[in-house]
Symmetry: C2
Subunit: 166 residues, 2 copies
């Protein structure tokens, strides 16, 4: 018994996820793409991971030891998600938003919900994809906002407001 690509994608569309713009390089030579396959690994030391197609044109820029910034998008940044997932070159992508830097020099998105500035610590190749582990070196929390989620092949907003236990 085996699972088809189509069946896997249909089932994966039911696993909702946050939408993020992942960057590397620096402000003058930036690289970036939209990713939903991001998750927390451990808080000791603070580490996350990002999955990236090994054949993506940005892949060669993500190398061991380099900076990598994971920018979590707000519900107001839907258009930016499309731009960083679309057929635009890097200057077109980065010209569509404002950027600064924290510790590693990787571009940090202004007004992201949260930005994790990481140093790439390890890259594990799994089939067609690279799993990139980042050690978090600096964090910037953006202004409050709702979260942008992708679920059932559509964007959804999650409200910022807390439910009462915090």
């Amino acid at each position: 018994m085996s699972v088809s690509t189509q069946e896997f994608r249909e089932a994966m569309s039911r696993l909702g996820s946050a939408v993020n713009v992942i960057t590397t390089g620096n402000i003058t030579t930036p690289h970036g793409f939209t990713a939903s396959a991001v998750c927390s690994v451990t808080d000791t030391p603070p580490t996350l991971l990002v999955c990236l197609n090994s054949s993506a044109r940005v892949r060669p820029a993500f190398i061991d030891g380099a900076g990598m910034c994971v920018n979590v998008l707000t519900s107001d940044q839907k258009e930016l998600s499309g731009i960083f997932a679309g057929p635009y070159d890097m200057s077109q992508r980065f010209d569509s938003a404002d950027w600064s830097v924290l510790e590693t020099g990787a571009p940090v998105l202004t007004n992201a919900l949260a930005s994790f500035d990481c140093q790439i610590d390890r890259i594990v190749e799994v089939g067609t994809h690279s799993v990139i582990f980042g050690l978090v070196k600096a964090i910037r929390l953006g202004t409050s906002g709702g979260g942008l989620m992708y679920f059932n092949r559509n964007y959804h907003d999650l409200p910022h407001s807390h439910g009462g236990d915090s």
Copy 2:
């Protein structure tokens, strides 16, 4: 410059994620826990990953070659999420829902939004956590339902209905 555990957790609370019950073992000797750190890795071959604290009591049951089922929870399964994250023994956890099996024998949750029945292919240790890669051997799509998400330290529901492009 370094990032504290507290700062990392605060920022991570802004990365919304789906809520899942991960199982291994079999119907008579089941093991399971609630996890939000799950993501798609590649569709060739269909592969996902799950992060698990290496000191968790269920950790020894997740071994290379074993079955592992990732059950994506619906918005109606909030209580089950709490039970599989709480101080209950395995029989108490599994008695609180209905289970079957697909290919590997790992318990498959009845009425999950989607279930990915996997064989554990590789486990990578990163700091305090184990990153478990599962090759998807079988899939079951549940009855339609909303998705259960965790964001800003609260549960949220995502509607099942599509937005019009599908």
